[in-house]
Symmetry: C2
Subunit: 345 residues, 2 copies
DNA sequence: TAATGGCACTCTCGCTTTGAGAGTGCTAAT
DNA sequence: ATTAGCACTCTCAAAGCGAGAGTGCCATTA
């Protein structure tokens, strides 16, 4: 694939921009009229021919305008990756929303998903901060009724896990508190492997709880991501390219089922770092359901401590110019939030 | 509106059943051929005319078959309300799923939503158990880092609320535990009003936490329902009646926005009791977005202690015969779960 | 020699036309 | 009371048709 001339670059970007706005194949005449490039439609036609030859454009049928190929989008995105800051006014609005939201990971995630969905008019997904090597921080045991006990386990990084246990026999709150306090002393800062390696406890209640804690921490460690929040599922339904086919339905289904979504996130972001930003165009051959879609993804958090993902799904002709800066900005914002509020070891 | 003859009843139910299956206007000839009622198409035509006259049926255009009106559906539903148990095998499958799910309200809700969505092929919604008069049960304060403190508040009925607090200055875990323990002693079993009426505490940390607890409990008391879980958003998109118009999108949007959904649940179930079951057909004039939809709703839980809602949204021609028993069964199941695991006072 | 104007050609899209099919209501006969 | 028959109505899908938009190519221009 040969180099693009300066003029071809300008033209290509113009075409893609126009197509993103209008959702309709763009022709040479329309281009020449609407934008005052100093070129006639004939010249543009020639260049379009060249761009088509090189694989950046495509014509739906012999006599329609041109439409960007995945390759074209990829070029387009690579061009705007570096620049493109979110307007200060929008930054302020978003920051403000976070500032006055109720504190708590849960609310931040919901808010982040909502902001992303609204700004980008796409489907957003945010995963809660998560550590791969869970470390013990604190446990609480709260007697509820009879043999029921509510266990709240806090891990370093801030992840929480709650569970209702049913004990073999009723136990007083006092005894539960003592057990919790003993375990807190014993386990503070330990990773799951270290805990598993500990000798059995003499007290049988202590031992039971310890076992459950280990299970719980293992489960947390093994899961690929924290809880998943989505928003804007319906946004994408109004896009014209999804009006007819049920491609949209299938893509949404993918996003609704957490397990497959987790899989997708895991596979695609295995090598993406905090601060980085990744754009998947057309499913990249991997995901049949996403043939017509693009995803903008970023990782946020404090590497090694707790990180999460956030992203936006939209039609392939989504407004990258709007989505990419938004994702980047929200990622930074969440990173700050995490590092400010992280639960230390 | 005069009485229906026995034959008219049979016919009406047959017609609706057929329409629910086929999604197409049903004509007299088709009816006479497929079901062996001992009647000719002409007779059926006459009866259909009568039923149309009475408002139970409608013809989309002069020469198409008949389609049920909302009134028709209402009659149909009222007929099946009493009978209709879920097949034992399905009951067993569902129970089994709950049995082997991880314990915890959060997981039960997710599972309930999933079961409802799958069984009914509609959009499901489940709200977590919630009490209107929140009573204090327990608080935990966990020091995280510097001035950050994680507060976990447990209320009678089992509702949880977590929050990250930022104190004015760092406080040791020991002092936090003492505060928590003092407050637990002081507040056990109290309702929010009683707590608000308490005299100020001497210790300023105690007082600060107390204020936050009060706020939190008030917020919980005021909210109409517990957290909302949904599933199956995409199910409804494959229905033929939503293929073209964006009615589906609007209905889904309604379900995606928790605030409006809460409003809907609040308004429609204000007078429905645990055990009862309510079917909203065509939005009942109240909800423009739901003109083409029906909702099957039930309340579950222990009245006075903690109750929640669950329901299914589908097209007006949803399979009531499948949905109604499922909703009823899951409601019973959740009620049992709540009363078994309720956090006592 | 790069850019342009002109022209013949192609293909889609929206419009109307048309005929088959399904369903109805009415009436006369059983 | 039920049914067979018939004329009538209306939708839906297929087919035909013309306008419009866009293309590629070639001769001409600056």
């Amino acid at each position: 694939m040969t180099e693009l001339t300066e003029r071809q670059k300008t033209l290509l970007i113009l075409i893609i921009r126009d197509y993103i706005e209008s959702a309709q194949p763009v022709g040479s005449k329309r281009l020449a009229e609407h934008y005052n490039i100093g070129l006639s439609s004939a010249t543009i036609r020639n260049e379009m021919g060249a761009l088509t030859e090189m694989g950046y454009l495509r014509q739906p049928h012999t006599s329609a305008g041109r439409v960007p190929t995945e390759e074209g989008y990829r070029y387009f995105v690579s061009q705007m990756m570096n620049q493109a800051e979110l307007p200060a006014s929008i930054q302020a609005t978003i920051s403000h929303q976070f500032y006055q939201a109720r504190p708590g990971v849960e609310h931040w995630m919901t808010l982040a998903a909502s902001v992303l969905a609204n700004q980008s008019q796409g489907v957003s997904v945010v995963t809660a901060p998560h550590t791969e090597k869970a470390k013990y921080k604190h446990v609480e045991l709260i007697s509820t009724q009879g043999r029921q006990v509510l266990m709240v386990l806090v891990m370093a990084g801030g992840e929480l896990s709650q569970q209702i246990l049913t004990l073999a026999e009723p136990v007083s709150q006092e005894r539960l508190s003592q057990t919790a306090s003993r375990l807190n002393g014993l386990l503070a800062g330990l990773a799951v492997d270290a805990i598993a390696a500990l000798p059995s406890r003499a007290d049988s209640l202590d031992q039971d709880i310890l076992t459950i804690i280990t299970q719980d921490m293992r489960r947390t460690s093994e899961s690929v991501s924290g809880e998943i929040y989505t928003d804007g599922l319906t946004n994408v339904l109004s896009e014209p390219e999804f009006a007819e086919s049920d491609d949209a339905r299938r893509a949404l289904k993918l996003f609704e089922e957490r397990s497959t979504l987790q899989d997708l996130l895991a596979r695609t972001t295995i090598n993406s770092n905090v601060g980085g930003l990744q754009v998947l165009i057309g499913g990249e051959g991997e995901w049949e359901e996403l043939r017509q879609c693009s995803i903008v993804l970023a990782r946020y958090g404090v590497p090694g401590m707790a990180t999460g993902m956030l992203g936006v799904l939209g039609p392939m002709r989504m407004s990258y110019a709007r989505t990419i800066p938004t994702v980047r900005f929200v990622a930074r914002l969440l990173s700050d939030l995490v590092s400010d509020n992280i639960v230390g070891e």
